[in-house]
């Protein structure tokens, strides 16, 4: 299990990174926690690897009241420790294990677009975006709804670099929750639900959105504002899980309903606490 040979590029600034990518059309190496296993198993054999770990512009995290922007070289653990976005941090704690999070990056997890991964759900439920850059072209922001194209497939084009991701902050009287079931602690979710609930001044639900993972090719966003009590049924109907070695489709469909209820309940509770 040794990776195939590749040519290695280690650009020192963003301009260099983009021009290298434009030139060699290589694969981007950030944390490598998903890419290197694939290389070691020789499931991928890129001719060029562009290592962005030495690009200072990408190692930046900017927290503002309305949201947090996380650069492509920022590790899971750094965001976790900074505690800048409570819902994101909660989701991060569900990503693999602490040692993996020391090296893995937030933007890498998004670009990897695993349909059972947690961070895409957070981006999706919040309506966040990913900023893409290309040499000689203006940067473009792609909303979560367009960013996740299919299983392991994102909107990042060849020669393009995902430079940062933006996670909007939760507003007033708004709470979030992340519920998932995994086989082992730290495994990818069999199913998971990220919920965001906003309450009105009167305490009634004003908005309720769910993003479900492990039950479709991309995070499935479901708006249950109108019928929060019926969330389980709605998500079960809206999702199309597959069966695999770990769980049947029927189980996943059932599970996502259970988790939707739990996540909604917990998000509502948090919204109430934040409104008080």
């Amino acid at each position: 299990m040794k990776p195939p040979p590749f040519e290695y590029h280690a650009p020192r600034d963003l301009g260099q990174a983009l021009s290298t990518l434009a030139e060699v059309r290589g694969k981007v190496l950030a944390g490598g926690q998903s890419l290197i296993p694939m290389l070691n198993m020789r499931l991928a054999a890129p001719e060029h690897l562009v290592d962005i770990n030495r690009v200072p512009e990408l190692a930046v995290m900017e927290a503002a009241p309305d949201g947090v922007r996380i650069g492509a070289a920022v590790r899971h653990a750094e965001v976790e420790r900074a505690g800048v976005h409570p819902l994101l941090v909660r989701a991060l704690k569900l990503v693999a294990h602490p040692v993996i999070r020391n090296r893995g990056t937030v933007v890498g997890s998004l670009a990897h677009a695993d349909p059972a991964a947690e961070l895409p759900a957070v981006l999706a439920v919040l309506g966040g975006s990913v900023r893409l850059a290309r040499a000689g072209a203006p940067e473009r922001d792609v909303g979560a709804a367009e960013f996740f194209v299919g299983p392991m497939e994102s909107a990042v084009q060849e020669g393009e670099l995902a430079v940062s991701a933006y996670f909007p902050a939760l507003g007033p009287r708004t709470g979030g929750a992340f519920e998932e079931v995994t086989r082992r602690h730290g495994d990818y979710a069999l199913a998971g639900v990220c919920a965001v609930v906003t309450l009105g001044e009167d305490g009634a639900i004003e908005a309720a959105r769910l993003a479900c993972i492990g039950v479709g090719p991309v995070p499935v966003v479901v708006d249950v504002t109108g019928s929060p009590d019926d969330a389980a049924r709605i998500v079960s109907e809206r999702t199309e899980p597959d069966g695999d070695v770990h769980a049947s489709a029927a189980y996943r469909r059932h599970l996502v309903g259970v988790l939707a209820e739990r996540a909604l309940r917990n998000a509502t509770r948090e919204a109430q606490a934040r409104g008080a």
Binding site: M1, P5, V181, R183, R184, V245, A247, S248, H254
Partner: protein, 785 residues
Amino acid sequence: MTTRLFGEPVQRREDPRLLTGQGRYLDDLGRDALAAAFVRSPHAHARIRDIDVGPALDVEGLVAVYTWEDLPERVGRPLPLLIPHPALTHGRTAYPLARDVVRHVGEPVVMVVAADRYAAEDACALIEVDYEPLKPVVGLEESVQGAQLVHEDVPGNVGAHLVQEVAGADGRGAREAIETAPHTLAFRLDIERSASMPLEGRGVYARWDGRDLRVYSSTQTSTSVRMAVAAALELPLPQVEVIAPDVGGGFGVKIVHPWPEEVLVPWAAMTLGREIKWTEDRREHFVSSAHERGQVQYVRAGFDDDGRVLGLDVTILHDHGAYTPYGIIVPIVTSTQLLGPYRIGAYRVEFSAVYTNTVQVTPYRGAGRPQGVFCMERTMDKIAGYLGKDRTEVRAANFIGPDEFPYDQGMTFQDGRPLIYDSGNYPEMLRMVKELIGWDSFERRPGRGIGIGCYVEGTGVGPYEGGHVQVTSDGRVHVSTGLTSQGQGHETAFAQIAATELGVPIERVSVVTGDTRRFGYAVGTFASRAAVVSGNAIALACRKVRAKALRIAAGALEADPSDLEITDGMVHVVGAPSASIPLSTVAVLANPLRYAFDDEAAKATQFSGTSSPDRPPVAEGEEPGLEGRDYYSPIRSTFASGMHAAIVETDPDTAEITVVRYAVVHDCGRLVNPMIVEGQIHGGVAQGIGGALYERMVYDVHGQLVNASFMDFLMPYATEVPRVETAHLETPSPLNPLGIKGAGEAGVIPVSAVIASAIEDAEGFPIDRMPISPSELFDLRSRMR
């Protein structure tokens, strides 16, 4: 300071090196060796039409490429069938490199040798093998239909078929007893495949100096690898030495030998005149090392109103994978150990070991016992359920009594000897485990259940092990035994035995295992036998040394040997500590010398006046040196036992299964080191939890192992394993001088049975198939409600 160390929780002597990165595992050796890698079959069943190595020849660093056709006749023969058995009428083993046909994904086809593993894998990727795919046989049901054959010359895919029958006291067979029993039950049980999965894979490193071959292998048996390699390479045995270095876990898979690589790597080293090393990677391990466990069992039981089993009739289908190099030990163990602590009226067991196009099946910790115990314990629970009795009451009604030992089960065990239990106390053990888990006060409610499982484990099988003990003139004690270590703490346990027997501080004792340069006669480490067989052999060797030391010291002290004892490394007259002589001096006296290489040696030279000029310097019947060698060859196995109980909770919504408490009562006779025994139990239970709730080998219809990675083969982490509460019962074995029984495998054996019992209790419907995942529990609920 006391020298009584037997039975004490002595800290391990292996640890300082293992904790500092100074252990020497296989891949830590041979830094300059060439690397080997293999092209392995991507097909479960295929005919090899052609192999084109051409595209690989330009790879930088490539040294050699070998296919089966390149092997000399003796090396190219099928690997040995290690344990023949009359019932194994169609035993089949693989060629070291596939010849014409491949029979499972992962079977080695081409061997590549290159400067390093990276280059070797580059070359493997470029070699083109043209396969004609054949229809694979996957799964027990497909195999027994026999429509497709794994081996053309094995009709019906049946490698072995064996019926064993023990009549009841009234002379009636099991089937007859069941027919006339007041109550009967019939059911089917399924157990899926798992595997040993040590964290260090296999590995071989060989060097040839033009005359002698040295092989390092991550093996559970260095002496037998040595004989197998010498035979395959047609080398005189004294020119081959095999060393098991530090081994990163075995759990059964490393007892198989010679693995193809254990023949091919030394052969290539000799052929090329270069050091060569092969280190198995994880993906290779999944598809080319052995699996175990997979069985289907059809059970019929007849019993009376008290739940006493009058007749038990079990038919087992055993999936043996593509080959049977280790014979049919696993289904034999299942069949014979199934009876557990019970006296069963009449018993009939029949198994068919069938071939499939999957990785071969050889023992994994427990070696067929977990399946047998699952069968027996599910039977006990079903009887209790049927009669509306407490599950422990039904078990107690069937126990062999404490006064019934030795108890003859009337069968032939895996060592070809009668299955006679040596000692035990099952009612007391049941009492202890019920108390430990709080059986009688358990509050049952939906989603919360309690389960129990009992087992008896034949341990310490023969034929023999040996020990060599040498006291050198510096007072150090050097112990060696031929069997190997994979983490069981042998260096510590054997040192405790030697220190106790010889009366020396343990700091002066060192132990070497698994090195044929130090000890050439041995069998290996498996079947919970090391402490029993090597432990006793070392004790016996120590007793020889002790007797000799006392003889020599008696001469020097002008005392009678029977008046002497050894304490803290000093031989002294009982009750007169001042009349003493250090063991180091005795060692000097035991070896008359001509040359004084140091001050101690000077005491033994010919003008030192220590020996009488009237007698030969080495007395008649004596040998120079203070050393001894002895062997222990048990007449038959000792039988350890245990009972586990667990409380589980099942989530009503998600069907997640949580083991809340896990209790173990264990009897392995006298404990050499309770800390080590507990560690063995913890580890065994953890593997059992893996087998019950997480691990399985999933083959698709094409014979592809679809979860061949640690991402998808779910070995439990710390977050998945419950804390284990333990208690010990000690019924010494009357069969060996130290009174010990084996403990290595025990922890894993009943776990699937216990967890199934508890889930069944929580859910209220039968659990007849293990392992079980939340998804499967959910599916069962859907069907049952």
